[in-house]
C-alpha cells in the first residue's frame, strides 16, 4: 500500500523530471535521473537482486522522505546528471545506454572525483538500508540480507513502517 502510493507520487517527482546533459559546452540531450540512479544501484551492488531485495522500491521511499534533506535529494539528482555527462564525454552515450563493462568504467572514473565518491557512497548506503531493512518495509521480504551476514535483528521488530 505504501509502495503503491509512493509510486503514484513519483509520476511527478523531482527524480523523474528530465535533466539536461551537456557535452563540451553543447547540449547533448535530456535524461531521466531516476532511470540512471536505478541502473547505477544495480551496477554498484548486484548482489541485492540475487538476495531478492527490491532496492528500487526502497529508493522510491527514501528519496522522497521528509527526513532526507533537500540538499541530499538535490545531490543525488545532480550526481545522476554528472554521471551521464561523464558517460557522454567518454563514450558519447548516456549512462543507461552503455554496456555493463563501460558503466563500470564510468563508475571507476567518477569514484576518483570527490563528488563521485560521495555519490557512490550515498547510493551504497541506501542499498545497505534496503538490504538490511525490516520486512515490514516490504523491500526485503525474506530477510536474505540479514541471513547473508548471520545477523539476528533486535526484538521487538517494528509493527508498522515508521519511515
Amino acid at each position: 500500500m505504501i509502495l503503491k502510493s509512493r509510486r503514484t507520487f513519483l509520476k511527478t517527482s523531482f527524480l523523474t523530471t528530465a535533466v539536461i546533459v551537456m557535452s563540451g559546452g553543447a547540449l547533448f540531450g535530456a535524461i531521466n535521473p531516476l532511470e540512471t540512479i536505478l541502473k547505477a544501484q544495480e551496477d554498484l551492488f548486484p548482489h541485492a537482486k540475487k538476495l531478492g531485495v527490491d532496492v528500487r522500491a526502497y529508493l522510491l521511499i527514501i528519496l522522497h522522505h521528509s527526513r532526507v534533506t533537500d540538499e541530499d535529494k538535490t545531490f543525488i539528482r545532480n550526481g545522476a546528471q554528472w554521471l551521464n555527462e561523464e558517460a557522454v564525454t567518454q563514450y558519447n552515450l548516456t549512462y543507461p545506454e552503455l554496456s555493463a563493462d563501460k558503466r563500470q568504467k564510468i563508475l571507476k572514473i567518477v569514484s576518483k572525483e570527490r563528488w563521485g565518491e560521495s555519490w557512490i557512497h550515498r547510493i551504497l548506503t541506501y542499498i545497505m538500508e534496503a538490504t538490511f531493512s525490516d520486512k515490514v518495509y516490504g523491500v526485503n521480504k525474506n530477510e536474505n540480507g540479514q541471513k547473508l551476514l548471520n545477523f539476528t535483528p533486535g526484538m521487538p521488530r517494528p509493527k508498522e513502517p515508521l519511515l
Binding site: F45, I120, T125, D134, G154, P156, P158, L162
Partner: protein, 555 residues
C-alpha cells in the same frame, strides 16, 4: 489554575522533581515538547531510529547554529540544517534518558573540588562546586534504589565512598570476552571493574528485567528495564504531563516567574501559572529559553542580569577508539564467545582518574569498553573502502563485508575526561535563524581547551595497551575537541556568588525566588564520567529543597 510546580522538560533533570513532588501530594504539571511513548511503542528499527532519527526534530523546523572557534581565534558559523549538525538527543517524555546506554558512574569526591585539588589552569574557568560528594551521596544511593542501578562493587584505587556495601541489583549478564579483558588488565596491573548500568537484570520496581536485545543504546527499551526518566519515574507518579508543549517564554515580575507560555502542536498558545517553576530542557535549550525570555525586569533574559546565563557550557571531553578480534587468531570456543549476541561487555577502567606526569598531578578520567553497536547498516557501511582507501562496490564489497562481519568483531572504548569550562564555550541565541515557532534558535559557541585533548590522549593510550594485550588488531582511536551532543552540561552553573553563577547551591536562580534549573546546566565542571546519574541525584536533592520551600509557603 495555579499549579504548585510547573516543570519544563521531562528528562533526567525534570522527572525526579515531578516524581518526588507529586508523590508528596503537590500539584505538578510537566510540559514536554515531544510525544509520549510507552514500552510497546519501541522497536529495534534501525532505519527509523538510527538512520532517520525519528525521536529528534526535523532540522528544517528546529535546529541550532554552531559557531566553531579555531585555535587561532577565527570563528566559523554553521547553520545546523545546512550541514546536518545538531545537538538534539531525544524529544519525548523522559527525554534522552530513553535512548541512553545507562553507563552509570558516580562522580568522585575530588570532582567537587577540582580547583582546590588540581589547581587553576590557564584559560579555564575551573571552580569548586558549592556542595560536596557527601552532600550528594545519599541521592546517588537513592537513584540506585528508585531508578535502579545494577552492578557489583569491586575495590579499586578510585572507588568512591558509599553508604551501602553494594548495588541493589546484581550485575547484568556478561559476554565471555570480558574474561579476556580482565586477564589482560591483570597482566598489565590495571584494575578493571564491571560497569554499573541503569538497567535492571530482573523484574523489579514494577518493571521487567533486561531481555538482552543487543540493541540498548540509541533505542527505547521495550521491557522497561532501562532506567529512563519515563519508565522509572514519570510512569510511577501522578504528575500531569502535557506533551507536544513547546515552552517559548517565561514571564516574571521583578522577583518571581509568573507564567510559562507554550505552543501546542497546532501553534495555539497556552499559559501556565505555578508557585514554582523548574526548567530542565537540557543544557542548551534551558539557557536558550532563559535568554529568549526578556522583559523589563530582565532585559538580557530571565535570571540573566548577571550576564552569566549560557556561559561555561561544557561537554564530556575525550573520544573513542577500537580494536578488532579476528577468527583466525582465536580458538573455536573463543570465536563462539566473541560472536555471542545480546550479553553486555560492561567493563570500565578508572585507574587513571588522576595521574602524575613529569611530577605534575593531572585530573584524568574513565574508560568504558563496549562492543561496537549492533546496527547492521552502520557496520556494513564501514566496509565501503579497501585497504588503499578507495571506495569499492559490487562483488569486492560483498566479499569484504561478509568476511568482516561474520568472522570478526570490534571492541570499542569511550574516554570520558573533563571538558574545561572557558569563556569561549557558551550558549547564546542566534540573531538570524528562527525555529518553526518563530523563536531565535540556540547558538552553540564551541571551543575546546587543549588540556582536554592532552588528558584524553593519555587515557586512550592506556586503552590501546589493553586491546593489544587482548590480541586485538586494527587498533585505532580518535581524541579531539569535537563535542559529543549527548554529553552536554553547564550554561547555568551553580555557586555561592551571584556575580559569577546563575544558580545558588540548591539550583534556585539567584535573581528570582521561584525559578529552579535542574538539568545538567547547573554543573560548573562535569567530572570525568557520563552525567546522567549525577543529574538524577542532584534533581532528587533539589526536590527535597523545593518540598521544604513549598511547605514553608503552606504553613
Amino acid at each position: 489554575m495555579m499549579y504548585d510546580v510547573c516543570i519544563i522538560g521531562s528528562g533526567a533533570g525534570g522527572a525526579p522533581i515531578a516524581y518526588e513532588l507529586s508523590n508528596a501530594g503537590f500539584n505538578v504539571v510537566v510540559l514536554e515538547k515531544g510525544k509520549d511513548y510507552k514500552e510497546e511503542d519501541f522497536s529495534k528499527d534501525e532505519l527509523a531510529v538510527s538512520r532517520r532519527s525519528m525521536f529528534t526534530p526535523l532540522l528544517k523546523e528546529e535546529q541550532h547554529v554552531i559557531n566553531n572557534r579555531a585555535d587561532d581565534g577565527t570563528v566559523t558559523r554553521y547553520v545546523g540544517s545546512e550541514v546536518d549538525w545538531n545537538f538534539w538527543n531525544g524529544s519525548m517524555v523522559g527525554g534522552s534518558s530513553n535512548l541512553m546506554s545507562g553507563y552509570f558512574h558516580r562522580m568522585k569526591p575530588n570532582d567537587f573540588k577540582l580547583k582546590s585539588v588540581y589547581g587553576e589552569i590557564d584559560g579555564a574557568n575551573v571552580v569548586d562546586w558549592p556542595i560536596s560528594y557527601e552532600d550528594l551521596e545519599p541521592y546517588y544511593d537513592k537513584v540506585e534504589k528508585v531508578v535502579g542501578v545494577s552492578g557489583n562493587i569491586s575495590k579499586h584505587k578510585f572507588a568512591e565512598p558509599r553508604s551501602t556495601p553494594n548495588f541493589p541489583h546484581a550485575k547484568l549478564e556478561e559476554n565471555g570476552v570480558t574474561k579476556w579483558f580482565d586477564l589482560a588488565c591483570t597482566n598489565l596491573g590495571f584494575e578493571s571493574f564491571a560497569t554499573p548500568r541503569a538497567v535492571l537484570p530482573h523484574a523489579a520496581l514494577g518493571r521487567n528485567g533486561c531481555y538482552y536485545s543487543n540493541f540498548c543504546g540509541s533505542y527505547g527499551c521495550s521491557s522497561g528495564a532501562k532506567g529512563s526518566a519515563r519508565a522509572a519515574l514519570l510512569q510511577k507518579c501522578k504528575a500531569e504531563i502535557i506533551t507536544e508543549a513547546f515552552v517559548y517564554k517565561l514571564d516574571s515580575d521583578e522577583s518571581k516567574i509568573t507564567t510559562a507560555y507554550y505552543y501546542d502542536n497546532n501553534m495555539f498558545t497556552h499559559a501556565i501559572s505555578a508557585k514554582i517553576f523548574v526548567v530542565a530542557a537540557q543544557a542548551i535549550e534551558s539557557a536558550r529559553l532563559l535568554l529568549n525570555s526578556k522583559n523589563m525586569y530582565f532585559p538580557k533574559g530571565i535570571a540573566n542580569n548577571s550576564g552569566e546565563v549560557g556561559r561555561n557550557l561544557i561537554f564530556s571531553a575525550g573520544g573513542s577508539g577500537q580494536g578488532r578480534f579476528k577468527f583466525e587468531n582465536l580458538s573455536e570456543q573463543q570465536q563462539k564467545e566473541l560472536m555471542q549476541p545480546g550479553l553486555f561487555f560492561n567493563r570500565s577502567l578508572q585507574t587513571w582518574y588522576d595521574y602524575e606526569e613529569s611530577s605534575k598531578k593531572y585530573k584524568g578520567g574513565t574508560i568504558d569498553f563496549l562492543f561496537e553497536h549492533a546496527n547492521i547498516v552502520s557496520r556494513a557501511s564501514r566496509e565501503f573502502y579497501n585497504d588503499e582507501g578507495d571506495i569499492i562496490w559490487g562483488e569486492e564489497l560483498q566479499k569484504k563485508m561478509h568476511k568482516t562481519l561474520t568472522t570478526s568483531r570490534v571492541l570499542s572504548f569511550e574516554v570520558f575526561n573533563d571538558w574545561l569550562p572557558t569563556d569561549e564555550c557558551f550558549v547564546s541565541v542566534d540573531d538570524e535563524v528562527k525555529d518553526k515557532f518563530h523563536m531565535p534558535v540556540g547558538a552553540i559557541n564551541l571551543w575546546g581547551h587543549k588540556h582536554d585533548v592532552k588528558v584524553g590522549e593519555h587515557l586512550a593510550k592506556k586503552a590501546v595497551q589493553v586491546l593489544k594485550e587482548m590480541g586485538a588488531e586494527e587498533i585505532s582511536y580518535n581524541i579531539s575537541s569535537a563535542p559529543p551532543p549527548n554529553l552536554v552540561a553547564g550554561g547555568c552553573r551553580f555557586g555561592e556568588n551571584p556575580k559569577t553563577s546563575v544558580l545558588d547551591k540548591n539550583c534556585k536562580t539567584h535573581e528570582l525566588e521561584n525559578l529552579y534549573v535542574t538539568d545538567a546546566s547547573f554543573m560548573p565542571t562535569g567530572g570525568s564520567v557520563p552525567y546522567t546519574w549525577t543529574i538524577y541525584a542532584n534533581s532528587f536533592r533539589v526536590a527535597d529543597k523545593i518540598i521544604a520551600s513549598l511547605n514553608k509557603i503552606k504553613y
